[in-house]
Every structure is written in C-alpha cells, then in structure tokens.
Symmetry: C2
Subunit: 337 residues, 2 copies
C-alpha cells in the first residue's frame, strides 16, 4: 500500500495537523508516458498555505480528498517515458506520499550529481536556492558595495540570499526573529550585521544603525509592519524583491499597511514580485552555480529533518511558528535504503 | 521693480492663497556667469505641494520669505554666460516672478523651435510631456495590444500618457473625476474607454468592464483607494509607474492603505517610482519626438491660462480641487509684447 497525506478540510489561516489525514491507498500504477517515483524526502514550505487557500492564486487550489501537493525528491522505480529510467533521481511535485505516478511535467529537476546529498535538492539546490539566485541576481541586480537587507534572513531562502549577496560583493544585513536566528545570521551565514526584530524596542533605529547608508536592496519574504519600517530606509534607486508575505496571517479581509507610493517616488525605487517557476528554463544554470559555490565552501545551509510521513500534517504550522531550524523536510523510509 | 510671489507661511496640507504674498522687489542684477530672464508664462503644478513641505523630499523645502519656486518660460534679456544670448527662449526654474537672474543650472531646456507656442514648453513640450514620455515608454515599456490605464487621465501628464500609449498601439483607459473630464478623455484625448470614478457606484466593476483582460500598465498620478482598486485588476507581469500621489492630502500621519505585496507577487508585477529630472540628459529626445507628434496632429492638449501674477497664490488649490481644465499657467505681461 501507498501511504499518503490528504487534505481533510480546508484551513482558513495557517494549516494545522487537523486539516489533514493519513490514508493508505493502492500503489500507483504508471500509465503510458508516466513515471513511477519512490519519494525519499518531502518538502514543507510557506507556499503551502497559498496552495491550500481557495482564493485567487498562482496555482489551482488543492481539493479536499486530494493528496497534499508538495515537492519531493526520489528515485524512479519504473518508467513508461523515454526520458527517464529506473534509478534516475528526480525532484518535482510528487506530493506528501511514499509513491507517485506522475507525468513528466511534474518533474522540475533531474538531480545531476551524486556527490551532494539528495535532500539538498529540496533546499539550497532546489527551489529555495533557485529562488534566492534569481530573486537576488535577476530581480535586484546587486552591485558591489551596495547594502542588501534580507527578511527571514536565517531561513532557507533568506540565508542563501545573504550569502549570494556577499559573494556579489555587497554588505549584507539580516532581519530575523529571536536571538538564536540572529546568531545564526552572524555566525553561520556570514551577514555583516543582523537585527532581531522581536528583541528591538526601536526597529527604525536598529535599521538605521545596521544600514548607515540606507538600503539599496530589500529581499522581502514577510511583508507587513517590519517591511514598512525597511521602506523608510531605502536609498536612491533601491530595489525591493517581493518573494513572500509570511508575516500576513490572512488576506481576507485584505490587510492595511503604510502606503509605499511616496517612498517609491521619492527614492525612485522599484518593488517587484516574482515567482521562481517563471525561471524554469534556467533552473539548471542556477543549480550548477549553487553546486559550485557549495563545493567551494562558500555556501552554508541548515536542514531540519523530521522522521516519517506522520510528521507532515503538523509541519506547516511548525514553519509559521518559527520552530524549525533550517529547511524543513520529512525523511521517508526509502531514504535509508 | 520686479513683482514676485513669496512664501508667507508654510502650509500643512494643500497650499492656499493666504500662504503667499505679492511683493515688489528690486530688479535682479545678473552676476558674472548668470542669465537675466524675463518670464512670459509661469507654471502651476501638483509637485509644488511637496516643494512647500518641510518633510523629507527630493528637493529642498522653500523657505518662508523666498520667491515661490516654479517653472517658467521666458526670454533672455541680458546674458553674462557664453552659452546664452539676449532673445534666446528658455524654460527653467525661474520662480513665480516677472524677472529672474539665474545660474545656467536653473535652465532645463532651450526652446528649439519658434513654430509652436511658447506656453507649450511648460506643458506638453515641457515637463508634463517629458514625464509622460519617459514614464510610459521607459518605466512601463508598453507593447502593442496591451491595456494601459491612466489616472488623472484628462490632466496635463495623464492626457499625454494616454495619447502616447495609443500611438504605441495600446488600448487606453482613462480614470478621471467627473463627467466633463470623462468626456474630454473620450472626445479630446482619444481614450478607448474612460471611467468617472466619482460617478461610479462600483469602481471595481467599472474597471473590470473597461479592462476585460486586466490592466497591463497602470500609470498612477494619484495613489490612494482608487489606485488600490486598480491593483485588484492587474494582469500577469503588469507594470505600475508611480508618478504622483495627488489623492493623498497629507503624509503626516502616514496614510494606510491596502497592502500591494500580494498583488505584486501573484501577478509578478512591478511598481516603480520615477522622477523626470533623472532623464535630464534625454529631454531633447523627448521634446523632439513630442513636437513631431504635435505637428502631425497626433497629440492634443488643453491649457488653462490665468491672467497675471495675482492669480498665482490661489492657483495650487485650484489644481487640487480639480477646477482647472488643462495645464494650469499664469500669463505675464511680457507674453503679450
């Protein structure tokens, strides 16, 4: 039997374990043109909240009774498609389940190398790293000497952004919640400065101290009042990459905040949303560069690995409460074969 | 004597006539390197509110007792600078006064042609037209078939944006306040559709009707709740040029509004502020192209000309109340010589 996590009822805000159920289903049978993948690691990520919403979004909502949509890495068991063969290692939308029979369009990446851990292709060599790579280099075009501020700076995307910014010759400043994440920014991810926004009585003063020349680039994963504060410190021709809105618990009713228009006008600044999938035809370029930096010891990462499918239902809430220490993954029995 | 309008006391919101005073001052004497200009037309524009504020801005605040900063067109009376000669016609920051002795840095444009009315160099061939030209073509990069929505669509910048968008092959939709401005959009400035936002009981429905495929480009002169509504109708990869914030009466306290981040993210949209002066080294290119379109009859404009310096103090409030019908100018006696 194939064990799977299905959506039991639709959450209105942060998904909790009671919104899911663990089910045993018949083993999937690949149709002609499909690939049967056995999953080794499953991903848990903030975007899942959006996928579970029935509001307008960039992806179709998941229906009650469906297997929870998720990225996973695994190994091809059987292939009825000419491009894939048993033993190939692949990353894609294989769902929170042990086995999946998928169309080739569900496969986002063929794992190119065997010298790096498979789990990394769900993190720093997967969508997190690729998001950091294109979001910083393409959307923000950093120049040496510029100041780059990153929110959720110790997170799996943010920590990679900070390190690519440093490789690009920028001064890097991290915004993170709590003294432990601030310490990780400084000690593990090499930020030049870091701010614990929970512990700061005056966030404006802290940003001004950490960014005495202002903020050239703001890589924003959170939105909300903390980002409003950052906008008060933009430098002329600043670029803001809108990558996520993690601090906003619900968009219904639509939240209000400080209007950005005057900052954008006075500082001739640009605020731009982006979606990593728009760069799908350039993923290989990003993974190759990130792999090279990893092998050179210039990129560091953290993983937080939970054991077994039973941990999946409660994992999204864990992410939003900030309990995780690094990229949150679920390891399945196949990973230990 | 030189008659001048000076700032008598600093306004907190929209400047009114009581914030200014009319004074007679000695005729200016050009120092070595300076140019003496006799003004023909003075400009009145929304940016003046910002210049009069003592809040952080892209220009120094005007001090109480100073001549009111203003663009003007006039003629060189006497030149103590090698680049200018008596009789040259020039546009620049000459102030709300009859005569000015200025450094060459105050001159923004040398009027190139004599076949077009001098007053146009304060409007469609001046900063309004140049703002429309770079704000639309450079910031928004319109492509044929795209839908361009313009706020203050019948205004001196907006009407030019709409017409350049049409010349670029776009479908154009104007947002304007009141039935008369809506009529101007359709009958005088050639918009494909126009919305009177004051008369619409359901602005969202009106935007959806006027832009059935969504909004590719929003050229925003106003900010505020009307712009918040436009953001709900963005199309994928939309571009928003933040040109002005005319609907916001005061930025102290900082106004709140609907957060834009989710729209920008889901639609992979870009919101960008710009300042026309950043294009100073390309003004000649814009004026040449705008002049050519004017001569071909492809650009239409409206001027609202008040007679005499005494009209200047009340003119900014007139602009913000929407009483003006076209680019608001003050004609001085020199214009009738």
């Amino acid at each position: 039997m194939n064990r799977a996590v299905i959506l039991a009822r639709r959450p209105q805000a942060i998904p909790q374990s009671e919104h899911f159920a663990l089910e045993e289903r018949p083993m999937p049978v690949p149709a002609d043109g499909q690939i049967w993948v056995r999953n080794h690691y499953l991903s848990v990520e903030p975007a899942m909240r959006g996928w579970l919403s029935d509001a307008s979004n960039y992806s179709d909502p998941i229906h009650v009774g469906d297997v929870m949509r998720a990225f996973a890495v695994g190994e091809v068991v059987e292939s009825r498609h000419g491009d894939f063969a048993p033993g190939d290692r692949v990353m894609g939308l294989f769902g929170w389940q042990e086995h999946a029979a998928v169309d080739p369009s569900a496969i986002l990446l063929r794992v190119p190398d065997t010298d790096l851990p498979l789990s990394l292709y769900l993190g720093i060599l997967g969508l997190n790293g690729v998001t950091a790579y294109f979001g910083l280099l393409d959307i923000c075009a950093p120049r040496p000497g510029e100041t780059v501020l990153v929110s959720t700076a110790a997170g799996s995307v943010g920590s990679c952004v900070g390190q690519i910014a440093a490789i690009s010759g920028c001064r890097t400043v991290g915004l993170a919640g709590g003294p432990e994440k601030r310490r990780q920014c400084l000690d593990e991810f090499g930020y030049d400065a870091a701010i614990d926004y929970r512990g700061e009585p005056d966030l404006d003063a802290a940003i001004a101290r950490a960014c005495p020349d202002g903020v050239d680039i703001y890589f924003d994963n959170i939105a909300g009042p903390i980002s409003d504060a950052v906008l008060r410190h933009l430098r002329l021709h600043a670029r803001i990459a809108v990558c996520g809105t993690a601090s906003i618990a619900s968009w219904d009713p639509w939240p209000q905040g400080a209007r950005p228009e005057r900052h954008l006008l006075v500082k001739r600044a640009t605020m731009r949303g982006f979606l990593t999938f728009d760069y799908a035809d350039r993923f290989d370029e990003a993974v190759a560069q990130l792999s090279a930096w990893l092998r050179e010891g210039r990129l560091h990462y953290r993983e937080d690995i939970l054991e077994g499918l039973g941990e999946a239902p409660g994992a999204i809430a864990r992410l939003y409460s900030g309990q995780n220490q690094g990229k949150l993954l679920i390891r399945l029995p196949a990973a230990k074969d």
